[in-house]
């Protein structure tokens, strides 16, 4: 029994230490960890995604697709592959992004009905992803180094302890002028984000509606983006999530853009 006490004590001490250092942790470090936890979970991943777009009149549109992701390194370049299933007019269409941490991303679209491979100019990361309230950058991530972060303290968000971080773009940016993030202290997932425009009016609110642990990795499985100004919102459901499946690098090439890798895409 006596021997057990140091064993119990050590982790407790460690936790206390972590808590102390964390609260003093650099806001930059928190945002980096959050970015890695949210956008770089595992070395690769795949999921079935259902995106529901609701406009201000309550009319719904639904997009269903399979998404593959592969990281070249944690926090480094990434590749994304999207295979659309619904609606009918975009079914079988594929879309590929090579996310470049330095410089512009590369994007390609394949339209099977005309056998057309088309590179897409990726200059405007702030444009909407398939008409939703999410932008391309929301999907593949805005690098933490692009903003200045300020630690605003800790808070309780619906029963979860969170860090509150305020971010301001280093360079003027159309996407937002100011962002407030609420980051889960345990797993560093962003549970809520508020985006403010240049007039400091609230424009969009992101919320992690549901967090599950998948293959040991905490994952936001239901994501929601409210556009407060347009009065529209988009909900994204992730199902059949798998991590570290060993997706080969060449899956993210024109060859597979034209012929989806059926091993992963059904």
């Amino acid at each position: 029994m006596k021997k057990l006490i140091p064993h119990l004590l050590l982790p407790v001490l460690a936790l206390v230490l972590i808590a102390i250092t964390a609260s003093a942790q650099d806001a930059n470090e928190i945002m980096k960890k959050s970015h890695l936890a949210y956008y770089y979970a595992g070395n690769d991943g795949l999921a079935e995604v259902t995106m529901t777009l609701t406009d201000k009149r309550g009319k719904e549109r639904v997009r269903e697709f399979t998404m593959l992701r592969r990281d070249e390194s944690d926090g480094g370049n990434q590749e994304y592959y999207t295979y659309f299933k619904k609606p009918s007019d975009v079914s079988r269409l594929t879309f590929m992004v090579h996310k470049m941490t330095d410089g512009n991303d590369l994007r390609w679209l394949y339209v099977p009905s005309v056998d057309l491979v088309k590179p897409i100019s990726a200059d405007d990361k702030n444009s909407s992803f398939v008409g939703s309230d999410f932008t391309y950058e929301d999907v593949s991530g805005r690098r933490w180094t692009e903003d200045n972060h300020t630690y605003k303290g800790e808070q309780d968000l619906n029963g979860t302890a969170v860090y509150v971080i305020e971010s301001v773009p280093k360079e003027p940016y159309k996407g937002f002028a100011r962002k407030v993030s609420y980051i889960d202290k345990d797993n560093f997932l962003p549970l809520k984000e508020e985006y403010y425009d240049s007039k400091n009016n609230l424009e969009r609110i992101f919320t992690a509606e549901k967090v599950d642990t998948v293959d040991g990795i905490p994952t936001v499985t239901i994501r929601k983006m409210d556009n407060v100004q347009k009065k529209s919102f988009t909900t994204v459901d992730f199902t059949s999530i798998k991590y570290n499946v060993g997706i080969e690098a060449d899956v993210f090439s024109e060859r597979y853009l034209k012929t989806p890798p059926r091993k992963y895409i059904h």
Binding site: R61, P87, S91, R92, D115, S121, N126, R255
Partner: protein, 419 residues
């Protein structure tokens, strides 16, 4: 060769039948109605389109292979007879052999090259009958029966497309859309007389008349380089046989390259090709087109949120131009030695991408002709889409590429229900 090939491929097909049955069906129902804007068009129909279409799509796939089929049923109200029609748009099996070979065998739509509605090395069949009357973009490409083989290694991708039977472009026949007839020197159609129904004979089904299109493609960073070779025929019947007094498809080889990639916040593309007119390499035969060298440069960029603009400039240089010029009958319009074509596309999306406004302009300063396409599309729901559009042609001379269609101006409405 002709007899062995089907057997070999039959065996390959058997080896590659999808292993996991996951059959999926979808498609659409569509109504397209178009009217002409020119009163004196010599065609026999007033409408450019009055059709109801049902498309069925089916796919079945396993880990290493997939089958895909697309079948269209059509009710065509502009016809007096044969109002019901159908076409197998695609039906192919795609499979992989080893880790380097991909095959696509069957009826398929084929596209390559870099241009936006300008085709140099893409010598696959186009359907201008559909393109000019407002059918969906997917109908610009006519299907070809072909075997496509792709080999991938560290150098790049090697593609070989073999079409056993030559597949020509689908051109206006004079029934729904009028065209220029060089014999009569005017724009004609079946409204003038049934003899103006235009459907040239294609080369007989022989092995030597098959089509071969190849490409090598290499990707480096944000750029993609391609080299192409085609052996077959002009896709339009640009030759004339003075004995039978009928047009024909002269033999053609095309050698070309292209480069495309992301730069300057947009996409840039360069493509060139040499059209080697095999039956008139010296330019002596007035009934067969001279060889030509053609090149284009294009750039596309998103200039504002949901607003994309592109521009292209194509230059076409005719070889042995002096001979060509001397062969032309007096009084006929004679094209320039160097022909220029400028195009621009503007696309604007609105209202969460449910509204798409699009315009495309072709303008040739040397031929002095133009073609304008415009459309507005509204996705009322995920399934229901409404479109309004038009096609406007103009030209100073009736014999130029777009001038010949100058009486075919039309506007159309289209309603599509996808399922």
């Amino acid at each position: 060769m002709n007899k062995i090939a089907p057997i070999v491929f039959g065996l390959l097909l058997l080896a590659a039948v999808p292993s996991r049955a996951e059959v999926r069906f979808d498609g659409f129902v569509q109504g397209l109605f178009g009217g002409r804007l020119d009163q004196h068009n010599p065609t026999s129909t007033e409408e450019t389109a009055s059709e109801t279409r049902l498309q069925l799509r089916m796919e079945d796939f396993g880990d290493r292979s997939e089958f895909f089929g697309r079948l269209d049923f059509l009710y065509d109200g502009t016809q007096d007879t044969n109002q019901y029609d159908w076409e197998l748009r695609e039906a192919y099996l795609k499979f992989r052999l080893g880790s380097n070979f991909d095959f696509k065998v069957g009826r398929q739509i084929l596209t390559w090259g870099t241009g936006d509605l300008i085709f140099i090395n893409d010598v696959f069949a186009k359907d201008y009958r559909s393109f000019f009357i407002g059918r969906d973009d997917q109908y610009l490409k006519a299907p070809q029966n072909a075997i496509r083989t792709e080999y991938y290694n560290s150098l790049g991708a090697f593609s070989v497309v073999w079409s056993p039977r030559f597949t020509p472009n689908r051109l206006p026949t004079g029934r729904r859309l009028s065209y220029y007839n060089p014999m009569s020197g005017e724009i004609v159609g079946t409204g003038t007389g049934p003899q103006y129904y235009f459907e040239p004979a294609i080369p007989p089904a022989r092995f030597k008349n098959s089509e071969l299109a190849t490409r090598f493609q290499h990707q480096f960073g944000a750029f993609s380089f391609s080299a192409y070779f085609y052996r077959g025929f002009y896709k339009n019947p640009t030759g004339f046989d003075p004995n039978s007094m009928s047009p024909f498809f002269p033999r053609l080889n095309v050698y070309g390259t292209s480069l495309r990639g992301a730069t300057m916040g947009g996409i840039v593309w360069l493509e060139g090709g040499y059209f080697d007119s095999r039956q008139d390499q010296a330019g002596d035969n007035p009934y067969v087109p001279n060889s030509s060298a053609t090149g284009m440069v294009g750039f596309e960029r998103q200039v504002a949120t949901d607003l994309t603009v592109n521009g292209q400039w194509q230059v076409d240089y005719m070889t042995n131009y002096d001979k060509f010029k001397a062969q032309q009958p007096p009084g006929a319009y004679v094209r320039d030695e160097v022909k220029h074509l400028l195009t621009s596309r503007v696309t604007k999306q609105l209202n969460m991408e449910t509204i798409t406004l699009s315009g495309f302009v072709f303008y040739s300063p040397s031929d002095e002709d133009a073609y304008v396409r415009f459309s507005g599309e509204y996705k009322y729901t995920d399934n229901l889409t409404f479109m309004l559009g038009g096609n406007i042609f103009d030209g100073k001379h009736h014999s130029t590429d777009f001038g010949q269609f100058s009486l075919n101006d039309n506007i159309f409405v289209k309603l599509t229900y996808g399922y």
